[in-house]
């Protein structure tokens, strides 16, 4: 967009501010999104845009030829051109219409259709004539010149293309081509040369080609001249693209009957240092001729013959979803802000590379014994490609997926232990997926995702960089500069980054399909709502159609299903087994059984009895205080609690394990204890950073957990809580809250770390229902300081 030509700078600024605030006001179908800016912010953006210096030379011509406003006479003359061609409007009528418009189109021009452009000229009020004429001329001109073919212009959605169909042009009979006096034109304006390219260096024009340019004539390849002279379609097409209106040469016609195909310019070479005018022009003409030939090749190939199904790309559904989604990703430039795909690195695994990887693996494994690499226990989620990877098909050739690559030298420890050259470059990246390799002792080892791996740069066979996230990458150092305390850069060299800045910037979309529920993503794409409280940029609202949003949802589903087949991802529909009634009961029974096995049944029974007794006291008070209709309900609650306490007390007092188990199962202890794990003020770790419904966080750093119910997929939620670092492309500030092998938060919920992770996942997938359980309602009221 260029606003320099605007006469009124105040109006320009006002328009631009409005555009930045909400572009849909000016253009309902624009791809420019709504950025959720405040007016003052939009004004600053507009001021910055208007302050940018532009190369005025480019617009000199526009300024010089500033056309004066047309007079009414001019408008009438232009409108006359079109009116005369309108059905059943004779010359006399034209003049009458141009004075006062039509009075009744149906009687004056019965052949005119209801949507005819001339409808605008009916019943023109005095003073409106100029505007009506301008509208009429504009509408006609756009239709006639075919502007709608490239531009999105409302009202022309179903307009017919103005050009000839090209779908079978490649076999068009040359006898049906109007060559007119084209040979004379070419002879008068061009100089034929034997060839275009220099035979010794095809990048340069042939000697005679350059000489023709120096002579002041455009060079013309002999081959195409012969084809033109022989009335062959190659010759016709070549000249049609070279100069479309040349076919009007020596033809007697009105100005508005001239050919309308635009003169395209395909090649835009840049002048090299020291290149003279003639040389540059010759090279430009050569590049243009080469591009023209490419376009010709395509058009001549359009022969409208059906392609054999064998040669048609018929991808499987997941791949098709990926391909279709990529088009939408590109349309809205999603990859500008978000990292969409990790890079792929193929590495030769020679002996020294294996030794290097073995040392890295040993180093990494030291710190990972709580979820990984411990030989005594299997990997938690081996089927997920963030934890597990199949052995390499070829032990000598590794394929790794990674992000944020950088070159660095070996550390002194690596030099000392492996005896490698300290100056040998290493390519280092953060693994986005787990990667397997065969160590020097022929043992298969696996790096989990989320760790940094270095390989010898000279052993990298192929490298395909990650796709997307440029804006986020640029913003990291900017934020660090702006607020060094909050967004401190960490690490050295290529490794320097700020994970707190990453947390506040557009998130990576790697594993997005694994992470989110398709229905939620669809709704979010159509109407983005805030998720994380601390982000500095909100997801803009794009003018995305339902089809576009669907294509993106399917893209993420399809791409992740292909990349991570082990997790059994389904899309576009998702079932959440944790919401099944049978699952609900099964978990309750399992949990109570677990308590019994661990010898904790009696103690938990007692403590639960005490909790229930407290609730009963509160219920009794509530029943006494309640009035009218509420009294009945309060009394029913009190009675239910009386019965529950009675049954529990009998079971505890008689030490009857079977009855106690039954009571605790009926009380759905699994779900209430799971909720305690998430939402106990002062004890639950989640509440340090996340709000859980009505229960506030100490300091909100992450999304509210009630969002998980509709937003997150159950498996991803479980894997994320087990170890968040595996699933993100940067070191997340979210800690591993349930480290494997450690028994934490037993006072809230009994069980191993993985059992606690599973319970937290189950509760999140049922959060509205669990939070509304009577036990949790009163419990929440007591611990969060009241509703």
């Amino acid at each position: 967009m260029h606003l320099k030509g605007q006469k009124d700078p105040v109006a320009s600024r006002r328009w631009l501010i409005q555009w930045v605030l909400n572009p849909n006001v000016s253009h309902p179908r624009t791809r420019m999104p709504i950025m959720h800016l405040k007016p003052a912010e939009a004004a600053r953006v507009a001021d910055w845009l208007l302050s940018q210096k532009v190369d005025d030379r480019e617009f000199q011509e526009w300024n010089d030829k500033d056309v004066p406003a047309p007079t009414q006479e001019m408008l009438k003359n232009l409108a006359r051109v079109y009116l005369k061609k309108a059905p059943a409007v004779n010359t006399l009528k034209v003049d009458e219409v141009l004075e006062k418009g039509f009075t009744d189109l149906k009687t004056e021009a019965p052949l005119m259709t209801d949507d005819a452009d001339e409808q605008v000229l009916v019943n023109i009020k005095p003073g409106d004539l100029n505007d009506k004429l301008k509208y009429y001329i504009g509408k006609k001109a756009v239709g006639r010149m075919g502007c709608f073919a490239c531009h999105d212009i409302p009202g022309y959605e179903y307009a017919k293309p103005i050009g000839t169909p090209l779908n079978d042009w490649g076999k068009k009979d040359p006898a049906r081509l109007a060559f007119e006096d084209i040979v004379a034109f070419v002879k008068a304006n061009y100089q034929t040369v034997p060839a275009r390219d220099d035979p010794t260096d095809k990048a340069k024009p042939a000697k005679k080609w350059t000489e023709a340019v120096k002579d002041g004539k455009k060079p013309y390849e002999q081959f195409f001249f012969d084809a033109l002279e022989g009335h062959m379609r190659e010759g016709f097409l070549h000249q049609k693209i070279e100069d479309p209106r040349s076919y009007d040469y020596n033809r007697d016609m009105k100005w508005d009957d001239r050919l309308r195909m635009p003169q395209f310019r395909f090649a835009h070479p840049r002048r090299t240092d020291g290149e003279g005018d003639d040389e540059f022009k010759a090279r430009t003409d050569q590049a243009e001729a080469e591009a023209r030939e490419a376009v010709m090749t395509f058009i001549l190939g359009l022969v409208a013959e059906p392609i054999h199904p064998r040669y048609l790309n018929n991808p499987p559904p997941d791949r098709l979803a990926e391909v279709k989604g990529r088009q939408v990703l590109e349309k809205f430039n999603c990859a500008g802000c978000h990292l969409v795909r990790p890079g792929v690195y193929e590495v030769r695994a020679d002996q020294q590379t294996r030794e290097l990887l073995k040392l890295s693996h040993d180093t990494v494994a030291k710190g990972l014994s709580t979820d990984y690499g411990d030989v005594k226990a299997p990997i938690d989620f081996a089927a997920d490609n963030a934890w597990g990877a199949p052995p390499p098909a070829d032990p000598d050739r590794l394929q790794m997926f990674g992000v944020r690559p950088g070159i660095r030298k070996p550390t002194p420890r690596q030099v000392e232990q492996l005896g490698i050259d300290p100056d040998r470059d290493l390519l280092r990246f953060r693994l986005a997926d787990a990667a397997a390799f065969v160590d020097p002792a022929r043992q298969v080892k696996v790096f989990p995702a989320g760790v940094n791996v270095g390989v010898f740069k000279d052993q990298v066979v192929s490298e395909s960089r990650s796709f997307g996230g440029t804006f986020a990458d640029l913003m990291v150092p900017y934020l660090a500069k702006k607020d060094l305390t909050k967004y401190k850069m960490e690490g050295e060299g290529d490794d320097r980054d700020s994970n707190t800045a990453r947390r506040d910037l557009p998130p990576p979309l790697v594993r997005e399909g694994e992470r989110v529920q398709p229905e939620w993503l669809f709704t979010f794409l159509r109407n983005p709502t805030p998720i994380r409280p601390q982000v500095i940029l909100r997801m803009p609202k794009f003018n995305m159609s339902d089809d576009d949003a669907k294509a993106l949802v399917n893209y993420f589903g399809g791409a992740d299903k292909l990349r991570n087949p082990g997790i059994g991802l389904t899309y576009p529909y998702l079932t959440v087994p944790q919401r099944d009634e049978f699952y609900w009961r099964e978990r309750s029974a399992d949990y109570v059984g677990r308590l019994e096995k661990a010898g904790e049944l009696e103690a938990r029974g007692k403590s639960y009895l005490e909790e229930t007794q407290k609730r009963l006291e509160a219920a009794r008070e509530a029943a006494t205080a309640a009035k009218d209709d509420a009294k009945k309900e309060a009394e029913a609650q009190r009675d239910a609690l009386e019965a529950e306490v009675k049954a529990l007390k009998e079971a505890v007092d008689t030490k009857n394990a079977a009855r106690l188990k039954k009571s605790l199962e009926e009380a759905q202890l699994y779900w209430s204890d799971g909720y305690r794990l998430l939402a106990t003020t002062g004890k639950s770790i989640c509440l340090d950073c996340h709000r859980v419904g009505a229960v506030k966080a100490k300091e909100e750093q992450g999304p509210p957990l009630e969002l998980a119910f509709s937003r997150l997929r159950p498996d991803w939620t479980e894997h994320w809580m087990a170890n968040p670092d595996r699933l993100l492309t940067y070191p997340t500030p979210m800690p591993q809250n349930f480290p494997r092998g450690q028994l934490l938060f037993q006072e809230l919920m009994s069980g191993s770390s993985l059992e606690q992770v599973g319970a937290a996942r189950d509760v999140l997938m049922n959060l509205p229902k669990v939070a509304d359980m009577p036990v949790n309602r009163s419990y929440r009221a007591a611990t969060s300081g009241g509703k």
Binding site: T363, T411, P412, Q701, D725, P735, Q742
Partner: protein, 253 residues
């Protein structure tokens, strides 16, 4: 790497005594002091505590520890160590009394929403105990480059974890993401000739091998000081003490 001339710190080597050339089995002492050389007087910066105020501020305000400068101008928590003058990776001769580390474990606690001690210098083989003696939960998130890839673990109230670290030229940054202002630093060496400056900015390295070495310093606020990664040449006389005084200039970082 910084050149010696453009170092953030103006080195003022004051050699007290030299007595002939040092043999491999001669030992000396290196001691010195790092003082504040900033253009303006150091002012402690109070931290805005955004959560758990009751506990975190229970023992008084918290201050940023990027620079800790005592009343007499001494800078605390500057890592100081020796390395071979020509090959930074070469092993140093080790005094018989220092063959093994004196303690197996070194504790970094989080008693009141800060890491105590704020900086730790470890010898490879020693285990870092990440402790949380406070009544609230903290996490320990450490990152130390290729030699110490790091992790991010929760430490509940009263809990602790063990962290095994490798000797590395890269420092290990430790932080608590729950309380974003909490930072700490650890460096791990494969020899015993390292020290951290105390509250007066003083340090002392005893039983150092006599001869020509480089003395290297690193401080979190300015990074490498005193000649960059290579350090400054120093000659350690046998059975004597060499003194090194430095000034820290944060403006030059």
């Amino acid at each position: 790497m910084r050149s010696l001339l453009s170092a953030a710190v103006t080195a003022a080597l004051a050699v007290v005594v030299f007595a002939g050339s040092a043999a491999a089995d001669d030992w000396g002492t290196v001691k010195g002091r790092v003082t504040w050389g900033g253009k303006s007087a150091y002012k402690p910066e109070k931290i805005e505590v955004t959560k758990d105020q009751e506990h975190c501020l229970g023992k008084g305000d918290l201050f940023r520890e990027e620079f800790v400068v005592g009343k007499n101008g001494g800078v605390k928590d500057v890592f100081v160590w020796l390395q071979d003058a020509s090959d930074p990776t070469a092993k140093l001769p080790i005094h018989p009394s220092l063959k093994k580390p004196k303690t197996k474990e070194v504790v970094m606690d989080q008693p009141c929403c800060k890491f105590v001690p704020h900086a730790i210098a470890l010898r490879e083989g020693q285990v870092l105990i990440g402790k949380n003696s406070s009544p609230i939960a903290h996490n320990m998130h450490w990152l130390g480059g290729d030699d110490n890839p790091g992790d991010n673990k929760l430490i509940p109230a009263g809990g602790q974890i063990e962290i095994t670290l490798n000797a590395s030229r890269s420092p290990v940054e430790v932080k608590c993401d729950i309380h974003g202002w909490m930072k700490g630093w650890v460096r791990v060496f494969n020899h015993p000739y390292f020290a951290l400056t105390d509250a007066d900015g003083k340090f002392e390295i005893k039983n150092a091998p006599a001869g020509k070495y480089n003395i290297v310093m690193w401080q979190e606020g300015v990074g490498w000081v005193n000649g960059g990664k290579k350090g400054q040449p120093i000659e350690i006389p046998a059975d004597k003490t060499v003194e090194v005084d430095e000034k820290l200039k944060p403006e030059d970082k």
